[in-house]
Symmetry: none
Subunit: 206 residues, 4 copies
DNA sequence: GATGAATGAGTGTTCATTCAT
DNA sequence: CATGAATGAACACTCATTCAT
């Protein structure tokens, strides 16, 4: 997966993991290459030997993790599914599970989403654009419009649904900073996802 | 408005404007006090004479601009209005107009909203909390629930409406980075706000 | 006492006291004029109006407090006394009492004694020289040499006695940093002064 | 001796020497890292690469030079010697010779002895404590008390002897600031050390 | 006389990147 | 291939002194 010249795969992995963690925790600017090499237990030189600059490291990471994430979604999601709520719930659950398993990955992706540093902003947007075109819109392009009530602008309805789940996810993440996730509130969260789903279905569906 | 000891008001203004701009464009961390004093055309010393630290400058700015913004909202909004769509449309329009007049102010507030730098995060949250309690929730506390259809969870419906307009605003802002706002798309944007309003009303209201 | 041009005596006093304290606690270099004016509750300008520079403030202070101290010694000491032990014991006790009443004064004088900052070092030495010549050596110039045993170099013996009490004072001061002085150890200290006196008398006197 | 990771020993030496000199001449506070790197002819970065802060540089220096000094004393002193005058004369001579060879070292150690800067004071005391316990008191713990005259408090007598030589050393050092040491006064100084020794022996010994 | 706003060189420290080994 | 020593510009912040009011 990673475009290695001659990379020792174990060392590769250590750098990837360390960089993901450090970038996720600090954002692009605050993350120092020193912290990354220290966390990875490798030398300074090797980092710049493989990735030529901090920027390239970040963007490579972003691209690869985004792809990994998209693949996961693509593989685990029933591609025949045409009900938008089922699609979004599916995505939410996959995201939720990945967060339990690879919190750094999800945190990195989220922090990248709102990264402001000009050195990488453009690069992020380009990668995001490419990915969105190739896989993300696909997700929403096949929606079964016949389930919506007459007179409803389906495109806009989909946007509303999307923003709702996005807003909800942000809300949960904000909470998660103070309260640690455990089984108890996992149930609660899923229940609340269902409430929003029901409400939107009742409103938009026939 | 600004707690100046005896600041020359013109110099005060230059510092405020410069800091707002530089912070808005770079976020807390990347923004350098050097860039601010250069932009403002003042000496290094004077900045620290009035604001004791970069952190204090940022937080003072945030507090004052938030208040200014909240006041504007408070003054221009009909406080008798109990229809949530009218409230949110009002807020959106005020925001929109302020962005045309003081783009740095709005950009600063938005960037503060998602600021990650630990030096100021807590401070931002505190100020936000104080403001939200005193004025923002007030906005939504008085909603006329009788307009909603039977069986609809009004609290959740309000959240959806809020997230929708928030998502829309973000979308517009993202576009605005590449395309400059002009009269033409102002009309379009307002039209689209209306479309979303109609759609949500049709779905949630009796 | 202080060479005031037109100084408001009450303001004068506040500056003097504040400067003594701040210099005593921080030494010349670390003491900031800001801290002094803040402590004194006066404006920055007035400090530099009366004393033209930090250096002049320090040296003026040093000179005046030294004189004050020398005067106190001179007044309270029996000038007819020709026994060196009585003289030194007298000085020690006066110092000790002054420390209880004006700790900043004594602390300032002590810190000045070992001040390293080149801006003031020379000035201190000059003042010290002048004072020592005019009053301090006088103290020791009149010693009754006949009390010493035959064959003893009286000048050197006096030096030894002087260094002993100086060393003892430093030792006490070092202790005082951790333990606060109270009545109990005041007695102890005086007792120990007496022991050293006895020992030296037994050794040097006939 | 110095805990260098992989320091080029010649560069190491330059930094050490420069820092010793600059600290000795200015004390902790006034000594600037700029002055040190300039004196050493190295880059700013490298100083902080090896020593993480000015404080650490100072304390490392202090510890190493103290040890070096203690070792020298330990090695050159006859450990069987139980006559306090011989011990102290030995120490004085070693100190004197070291001052001729490494004046900065001795000056640094002396200035550290009376360093007031709060950033390093505690650290100095800790190191001093550790050293004193391990080696210095050892020097005085084995004194032959039988040489002292009857009725003399040996502990106090030792203190007097110690303070005398300390006072003498300070006096010489103060002089040395204005007059440079040369062979001529080396002889004089040793002669004077002998006079004080004789006087104290005559007074305290049987 | 009295104020405190204003200056700008100076401080300790950080950091991405390079390169001799 | 791999190391980590080395660089130096940039950073936030301080401070004695001046001067318009």
């Amino acid at each position: 997966m990673f475009r290695s010249l001659n990379m020792d795969p174990e060392k590769e992995d250590r750098i990837i993991k360390a960089a993901t963690k450090v970038f996720a925790e600090n954002g692009y600017q605050r993350a120092s290459t020193n912290a990354i090499v220290k966390e990875a237990g490798v030398s300074k030189g090797i980092l710049f030997h493989y990735f030529n600059s901090k920027k390239e490291l970040y963007l490579t990471l972003y691209e690869d993790l985004s792809e990994l994430f998209a693949e996961k979604i693509y593989n685990q999601l029933d591609s025949e599914e045409r009900d938008i709520f089922e699609i979004i719930r599916g995505v939410s659950i996959i995201k939720f599970e990945m967060f339990s398993m690879y919190p750094d990955l999800i945190n990195f992706l989220n922090s990248a989403f709102q990264e402001e540093a000009p050195e990488v902003k453009e690069g992020i947007d380009q990668i995001k654009g490419a990915l969105t075109d190739s896989s993300f819109t696909k997700l929403f392009s096949n929606i079964d419009a016949t389930k919506f009530r007459e007179g409803i602008d389906v495109g806009k309805a989909i946007q509303i649904i999307y923003w709702t789940f996005e807003g909800f996810a942000n809300q949960q993440q904000a909470k998660a900073r103070t309260i640690s996730v455990n089984e108890l509130n996992k149930e609660e969260i899923l229940a609340e996802i269902n409430s929003y789903t029901e409400l939107l279905k009742k409103s938009f569906y026939k």
